[in-house]
């Protein structure tokens, strides 16, 4: 699987992340409902189960693929996702950019990946709310551990806060979108500080 060659044609994800403590989440949801499309309807909830699979490439680099299944809508297709290395860029770039490949797939994808030699690295439940504004997708979600393993109805949350993500998936080179995301993030400013977060630095 030569992902780098497909990278050119691949979509890019422009993303900003932040977090908000449980108590203030309600206010943020109100604000998002006002800012985003279709404020007349109640915010859409989601509960997804994410499996993260890795395989070691010949050069020693691990390759990670993410499989997601909606637990609320079990009849929906599963979703396979490859995320490239995030590019922080300089100060002028408003958002984190990473290449991504999205594939909708059937429910036997896990078996398929195992057969290919992928190993299940970790899994978690992501539960929260999803909003849409134009091409932007805003998710406010809480991460749960699966304790004991395999227990989908877990309430073992990882932290006392919600993860907030604003993202757009678009073809390469649409940097105007980054500005759009940033200006949207500005409007959430006192509640949640959305930033370019490099996961490599957190480790």
């Amino acid at each position: 699987m030569n992902l780098e060659s497909t990278r050119r044609s691949a979509q890019q994800e422009y993303i900003l992340q932040g977090s908000i403590v449980n108590d203030s989440c309600e206010i943020l949801l109100h604000r998002l409902r006002g800012l985003c499309d279709n404020g007349d309807a109640a915010p859409e909830t989601f509960k997804d189960h994410e499996y993260v699979y890795t395989i070691r490439q010949p050069n020693g680099q691990p390759l990670t693929l993410r499989v997601r299944q909606s637990l609320e809508k079990k009849d929906y297709p599963w979703h396979l996702r490859y995320l490239g290395q995030p590019e922080i860029g300089d100060k002028n770039r408003a958002t984190l950019v990473r290449s991504c490949i999205d594939v909708a797939c059937s429910s036997n994808i896990c078996t398929f990946l195992s057969e290919m030699g992928f190993k299940l690295d970790y899994e978690y439940i992501s539960k929260g709310f999803i909003f849409k504004k134009g091409r932007m997708k805003v998710t406010v979600s809480k991460i749960f551990r699966l304790l004991p393993p395999g227990n989908v109805n877990t309430d073992e949350h990882v932290s006392q806060s919600y993860l907030v993500e604003v993202s757009v998936v678009a073809p390469t080179g649409q940097d105007a979108l980054a500005e759009e995301i940033r200006s949207f993030a500005e409007q959430l400013k006192p509640l949640v500080q959305l930033e370019k977060i490099d996961p490599r630095r957190l480790q």
């Binding site: 989601f46 997804d48 594939v103 849409k132 998936v169």
Partner: protein
């Protein structure tokens, strides 16, 4: 201050660094020379302050001036100092001269001037004072009047105030401030419209409302302090005129409902609503016109000016017109009111057009949310399933197919036409055919393209014994009828076909009703034939027949009923005749018991309201006890 310690001040050895070059070399600022230093210090002297002392000590300053004058030959930077000193000297010389002249008293004497007391006129003063008082009183009075009227206005209606009105408009419309202008947005873009018209309006402060002098004391509508300006093409009122003619009318001028015109001159709210409606109608018509051009129908749709003409059925056309009036011309509206317009407006279809466009708006914004949350945004559910479910080309094509707005409105109007035709046909038949009653129940649950009617055919007075139900589904281009025996008939839009069906059902009903009656009367059914093969050929359908025998078998009734020919009743008696006269052929009386030939009954002469009651009468007559 002690003088025992000498404090000496001198400049530092090192000069201040002006800049450090890239190779590390320091460049110093050059020190000032003595003369430059002096110039710098001298420029700090404020000569204007020194000038103030000139008056008191002219002599001293003079000497100072002369002293300084020696320096006038200094270098060019002293120019300003020199000029100032020179002007100071000139002034001082003049002052000195003045003082000398005044002191000598030879040429000039300074004496106090004796002022003559002005003559005091009490009358003029009184007049002047009165005038001044009157003027000030008028000013105060004006102020009071203004305050009073302002307060009155405020108490009468708060809406009169510009700012509170602006707040009201802000609550109802999308507004923003650009520079010094207040702009509003009329367009439907925020709810999903893609129509390129900007649809903006401007809010300005209206010129102060003049007190309206109305001849009568009718409370005139309060003048608003807001003035709303919409784009010129959005002014006025408009609506979509929908009608279906039997022929192309060729009349493009579409009358405007008088109600719409009357509401032209009113508040800004009404004005904005009208403008928004105009915008909506424009978008609707533009969309329809675009679809009309693209649509591939056997009979192409026409777009002429402000009208779209589509053919529904042969000879029946749908015309959709955009009607827009800006200037309310009362004369023309009155004229239009008087002339009965041939092409009647169909508000139901107009309403469904509005609904269709709003649905398009809604769908353009309300995409299904992705599940799981990382999935791609903005893909329809069907497309999202296409990959994992491995849809083939045909399924994908089916999924992508969607009816355009024009197609939908055409099918809706076709349904309307077909429904009206069916309704008319059933009503006419019910009027024409009196004998069995035709009762139609239109179901209230129907859609824009489907409705159904239940028809009951009953004989008056015998409703409980025999009833022929019939369900008719009216679709877009065809009619489906389901009969009592479960047979289904598919018919085209020609309502004549339905007429024939109902007529044959009526004919069968009569025979069925007679059969039901015979059971009650104790008569035996000898034969019952729905499609009777004998007798004259019917124009439509086939005749039905029934043969009945009396309880003791000596009488027989044969009934034949055709959809068009009507009823034909014959009887035969078992003893042909009461009296027997033996002949050469028939010698015995027993042969008399064989049924004779059928004789037709003169049906008009039989008493009874309808066929069934006549048969009952006949049966009663024929039955032997």
């Amino acid at each position: 201050m002690s003088l025992s310690v000498n404090v000496s001040l001198e400049t530092a050895d090192e000069y201040s660094v002006q800049e450090i070059t890239y190779d590390g070399q320091e460049k110093y600022t050059q020190p000032l020379s003595m003369s430059e230093n002096l110039t710098k210090l001298a420029q700090r002297i404020d000569f204007s302050r020194v000038n103030n002392y000139d008056d008191t000590e002219p002599e001293k300053s003079d000497t100072v001036a002369e002293e300084k004058e020696t320096l006038q030959s200094a270098v060019w930077p002293w120019e300003s100092v020199r000029n100032k000193l020179k002007s100071a000297l000139t002034e001082l010389c003049v002052l000195l001269d003045d003082m000398n002249v005044a002191k000598d008293k030879r040429y000039l004497v300074l004496d106090p001037v004796s002022q003559e007391p002005s003559e005091f006129k009490p009358l003029t003063a009184l007049v002047a004072r009165k005038k001044a008082l009157a003027a000030s009183a008028a000013i105060i009075q004006n102020g009071v009047e203004f305050l009073k009227s302002h307060q009155n206005d405020a108490t009468r209606s708060r809406a009169m105030d510009f700012h509170s009105e602006l707040m009201t408009i802000r609550q109802n419309w999308r507004m923003k401030k650009v520079g010094n202008t207040i702009l509003g947005d009329l367009s439907y873009r925020s709810v999903g419209s893609r129509y390129p018209h900007p649809g903006s309006f401007e809010v300005t402060k209206a010129p102060t409302p003049q007190p309206i002098t109305s001849p009568s004391n009718v409370p005139s509508p309060r003048a608003s302090s807001l003035k709303v300006t919409v784009a010129s093409d959005l002014e006025g009122v408009s609506y979509i005129h929908v009608n279906n003619d039997t022929l192309a009318s060729g009349d493009l001028s579409i009358p405007l409902p008088p109600v719409a015109v009357s509401s032209l001159e009113s508040s800004w709210q009404q004005k904005l609503e009208n403008a928004q409606n105009v915008l909506f109608c424009k978008e609707l018509f533009a969309q329809l016109a675009r679809e009309a051009v693209q649509l591939q129908l056997p009979i192409p749709t026409l777009v002429i000016g402000n009208q779209i003409i589509a053919t529904l059925f042969p000879g029946v056309q749908l015309s959709i017109g955009l009607c827009h009036t800006t200037v309310p011309n009362k004369k023309t509206t009155e004229k239009q009111q008087q002339t009965p317009s041939r092409n009647e407006h169909k508000p139901v279809l107009e309403h469904s057009l509005h609904q269709l466009l709003r649905e398009i708006h809604y769908n353009s914004l309300h995409h299904p949310m992705p599940h799981p949350a990382t999935a791609t945004l903005g893909i329809s559910r069907k497309m999202y399933f296409a990959g994992p479910e491995a849809y083939d080309r045909h399924t994908l094509m089916e999924a992508c197919k969607s009816e355009t707005m024009l197609e939908q409105i055409i099918s809706q109007s076709q349904h309307v036409v077909l429904r009206l035709r069916t309704m008319y046909m059933i009503d006419t038949l019910a009027c024409e055919i009196k004998d069995p009653l035709i009762i139609a129940h239109w179901l209230c649950l129907n859609s824009a393209t489907k409705s159904s009617v239940k028809i009951n055919i009953v004989s008056y007075g015998y409703e409980s014994q025999s009833r022929t139900p019939l369900v008719i589904h009216v679709g877009v281009k065809n009619i489906k009828a389901i009969c009592r025996d479960g047979r289904t008939f598919h018919m085209s839009y020609e309502s004549q076909e339905l007429r024939y069906l109902i007529m044959s059902q009526v004919s069968q009903h009569q025979i069925n009703a007679i059969q039901a009656l015979s059971k009650l009367m104790g008569w035996k059914v000898l034969s019952h034939n729905v499609n009777c093969g004998v007798g004259p050929v019917e124009m439509i359908g086939t005749a039905s027949s029934i043969v009945l025998a009396s309880p003791n078998g000596d009488r027989m009734i044969a009934v034949r009923h055709g959809p068009q020919s009507g009823a034909q009743v014959s009887i035969s008696l078992s003893p042909h005749e009461q009296d027997f006269y033996p002949s050469t052929l028939v010698k015995d009386r027993k042969w008399q018991n064989i049924n004779g030939g059928f004789k037709e009954v003169m049906w008009e002469k039989i008493e009874g309201k309808n066929l069934v009651s006549k048969i009952e009468y006949l049966m009663a007559c024929l039955t032997n006890f």
